[in-house]
Amino acid sequence: MKVLMFGWEFPPHITGGLGTACYGLAKGLTKHNVELIFVVPKAYGDEDQSVARIVNASEIPFVLTDEEHKEFWSKIKYMEIGSKIVPYVDPEVYAKTYEENKKTGESFTSKVFDKKYEFSGKYGPNLMEEISRYALIGSTLGIEEDFDIIHAHDWLTYPAGIAAKKASGKPLVVHIHATEFDRSGRNVNREVYDIEREGMQAADMVIAVSNLTRNTVIEHYGIPPEKVVTVHNAVDQSMMQDVMEVKKPFKEKLVTFLGRITQQKGPAYFIEAAYRILQKDKNVRFVMAGSGDMLNQMVEHVARLRISDKFHFTGFLKGKDISHVFALSDVFVMPSVSEPFGIVPLEAMRSSVPVVISKQSGVAEVLTHAIKVDFWDVEGMADAIYGLLHYEALNKVFRKYGKKEVENLKWEDAALKVKNVYQTVLSNYNNK
């Protein structure tokens, strides 16, 4: 079986979870004898070619012959780029990219129909232009390459997937890692939503990373339930940060929040829980690691509750600093309002840190060794944290099972489910 897969990034050049998930899945699929052509907008040459043939879209020449392409382009040409449409990207990275592009004065349109096009492969202000060009490449590859099925990851690549399907007549599977509702809450970007829905409608089968996301796809995008399959994400151990051993510089226990500080991640609920715990137990510190558009608001919230002496903000963390925070932590909390999957608690568990996660996260569906609370139930959240800090047996049990549980979430198993989806799609396709 041969799959033409469209992604937006591939390790080591990644800015977020999407690239990691694609890589894990690709590796898993090769174990099940699935051959992959993995297309990214921009390849750097140092990608792991053992799992897939990496195709650099920047190197694909494109000759405009088809009126349909022009029409397609005209549809999505003038979309404005807002910071929130970007999936899986930290605001720092986005802002940096954005500033750089502003300096170089890159223009918005026009180069899409050049014979060669240099993709940035990032999430810059030219994102929409890149998506469009990427779609054109998709159609070229659809004709030139030999494959059985097309698989597109998240909305950025759906136009490419659709174009490839149109050009080749081969079936399409789209993979939902996050929807516009997860990224933007109630302020949904209509254009992005439309691209997502078009992709799902054009697809022969839709894969969602959790039942939670599957429900969103069915309820908010009107996709028939029988067309949507849940395949939970897994964990690629090699992509995880190393576990560190650090001596804590203070005597208090540490409770950690790590993630973007945006509405969707529920930081305010964490603060409210912290406040309740500090009323009873002064021997605890809280840290909110990450950055985002609600950071200032959260700092004010903490100050208003007068717990700033025990509540700390670190700003955006990466790499070693993340491992360091986990090494210091006694409890990790993910109070997300909406989380398609949520990989961070798994990293915490790998460091033997017990986790409290919201029931509104996809990862809650696969974890047994986590305490699950509704994101709005700050009292339940506080109680769970307090219990973990005070009752030793909880730590013992987590240390015993938590790490093992994470290690058992294998991409190999997830890939087998994806392969089953391929097979279903192909048999339907061949029977037509």
Partner: protein
């Protein structure tokens, strides 16, 4: 002649409410009265009342030929009094027939037999009294929580004067032997044992409505056929089960009530079996010999061991922490503390913390108010933390008082001694200083004299001399002297100083010496 012995277990725990950590030390109501009432009411309506009525019908029909036995935990009796007095009344009616034996157990349906002999005996005594008071007959047969049994537990029960106990006919204990005989305890042969026939019991209790079971549907004909197929030499078939089997675990719609209504007639028609109570059998049958149970067994799960209640980290921490409070609770006189102490021992709380079913949680989700063992544990520990504070306070009032008083007194005494020592030291120093000063009063010491003393001195000193000596005096001394002169003297002094030209140092020295002499004269005693 062979016997069928029915024993039904009736128990409902007092489930805990969601008790948050910020309630610790603040709120002391632990129970979810709403749920407890609701479940007791539901079980009474769906199971206890209709099944009691059915048994009453059978007794009326067959007289002394049909007999059963019950054990109702003390906590369930108390709950019925509160929430389902009609159910309790119907049990009393059954007791009045004389065809129903009531067994005794631990009042709190607790695991005390595994931890504290003293507490175990106390609870059995409580329960025995409660059963006698409620049903009018003193119970003589013992059954332990979840049929938990070991040689040592049996010996304890024998020491309490019981001659008969019920337990599980666990395969790993019996080996090739049949459960269908009377056995004895391995330590004290005075205690006889009736063992549950788990295959036939579970056919009714668990498999009755299981449509995937090859024997489904189970008819009385089939069941009596199995009874008849049992070796003719076997003496008793012990059918032990939860009473909620009827109408709650197995719904009415499964036909479980019809099955039970039909069973006695079928037994009498097609077999040579009779129905007997445990205590009758204890007297009737000859024991087959001792059975050895070095490690505790129970009637739970495939393993028939204790792992549903004890053994994982949650259960062990909670259990140990609870029983650490035993001694303190015993010297405590607060009724509500004593009541909570019993309720917190109920085995169900530990059952909710079981992690065995992380893989297949289905069987045990029944009646379990918690989403996971983690939640069960946290909630229990929150309650236990508050309970511990109350026990400490309560026990502390009597015992700790005397000790603290002694300690405090000693502390106080020490402090008094310390401060006394300090004062003495200080006084000594002052005295010494004064004495030292008086030894050789110098001219400069004028600055330390009181104003009265300075005035006294100045009366003795000629203004002319004063003017001379002030030429070379320190500022402090000058400031001490001038204000103590009368106004006229100050004026004169100023005039003299004006006229005074150069003064010889020797003169100053001489006058200073004179004044020092006067000082000694005036102030040294």
């Amino acid at each position: 002649m062979r016997s069928i012995c029915f024993y039904f277990q009736v128990h409902q725990p007092n489930r805990l409410r969601t008790y948050r950590f910020f309630d610790i030390g603040e709120k002391h109501d632990y129970y979810d009265n709403y749920t407890n009432r609701m479940i007791m009411r539901r079980v009474a309506d769906k199971s206890y009342l209709p099944m009691n009525a059915l048994l009453m019908d059978l007794i009326n029909e067959y007289g002394s030929a049909f007999k059963v036995s019950f054990s109702i935990s003390g906590i369930a009796i108390e709950q019925m009094k509160q929430y389902a007095p009609d159910a309790l009344e119907s049990f009393k009616r059954l007791a009045e027939t004389g065809n129903v034996e009531f067994l005794t157990e631990t009042y709190a349906h607790s695991l005390a037999s595994l931890k504290s002999r003293k507490e175990f005996e106390k609870q059995v005594k409580m329960q025995t009294e409660l059963v006698e008071k409620t049903f009018g007959v003193k119970p003589v047969t013992f059954r332990n929580t979840e049929l938990i049994y070991s040689d040592e537990i049996g010996a304890m029960v024998a020491d309490m004067g019981f001659e008969l106990m019920l337990t599980e006919g666990a395969k790993h204990v019996l080996g090739w032997r049949s459960p269908n005989y009377l056995y004895t305890n391995a330590i004290n042969p005075k205690l006889k044992l009736l063992l549950k026939n788990f295959r036939l019991s579970d056919d009714i209790a668990f498999r009755f409505s299981e449509q995937g079971w090859s024997e489904w549907p189970l008819t009385t004909k089939k069941f009596v056929g199995w009874l008849n197929a049992i070796d003719k030499n076997d003496e008793v078939i012990n059918l032990f089960m939860d009473y909620e089997t009827f109408g709650e675990h197995q719904w009415k719609e499964t036909g479980i009530f019809d099955f039970m209504r039909e069973l006695p007639a079928r037994v009498f028609a097609d077999s040579d079996y009779t129905f007997n109570t445990p205590s009758e059998l204890g007297k009737m049958l000859q024991p087959k010999g001792p059975i050895h149970v070095p490690y505790p067994i129970s009637w739970a799960d495939e393993e028939r061991d204790l792992t549903a209640w004890l053994g994982n980290e949650f259960q062990d921490e909670a259990f140990d922490k609870l029983y650490q409070l035993e001694d303190k609770v015993n010297i405590c006189n607060d009724e509500s503390v004593k009541n909570d102490w019993l309720n917190l021992q109920t085995s169900d709380h530990f059952y909710y913390m079981c992690t065995k079913w992380f893989s297949d949680g289905e069987v045990h989700k029944y009646f379990n108010p918690y989403g996971s063992p983690y939640e069960a544990f946290i909630n229990y520990m929150n309650v236990l933390s508050d309970f511990e504070i109350r026990v400490d306070n309560c026990a502390g009032e009597s015992e700790v008082d005397a000790e603290t008083l002694k300690e405090k007194t000693e502390e106080l005494l020490e402090e008094v001694q310390k401060s006394a020592k300090k004062i003495i030291e200080k006084t000594k120093k002052t005295v010494k200083k004064t004495v030292d000063k008086n030894k050789d009063l110098s001219f400069d010491d004028i600055k330390d004299l009181s104003n009265t003393a300075v005035k006294k001195l100045l009366k003795e000193v000629d203004l002319q001399d004063l003017a001379v000596v002030l030429k070379d005096a320190s500022e402090e001394v000058t400031e001490k002297i001038i204000p103590n002169l009368g106004k006229r003297a100050q004026k004169s002094l100023a005039e003299i100083e004006k006229e005074l030209g150069k003064v010889k140092k020797t003169d100053i020295k001489k006058i200073k010496k004179d004044i020092e002499g006067k000082l000694k004269e005036l102030f040294k005693k």
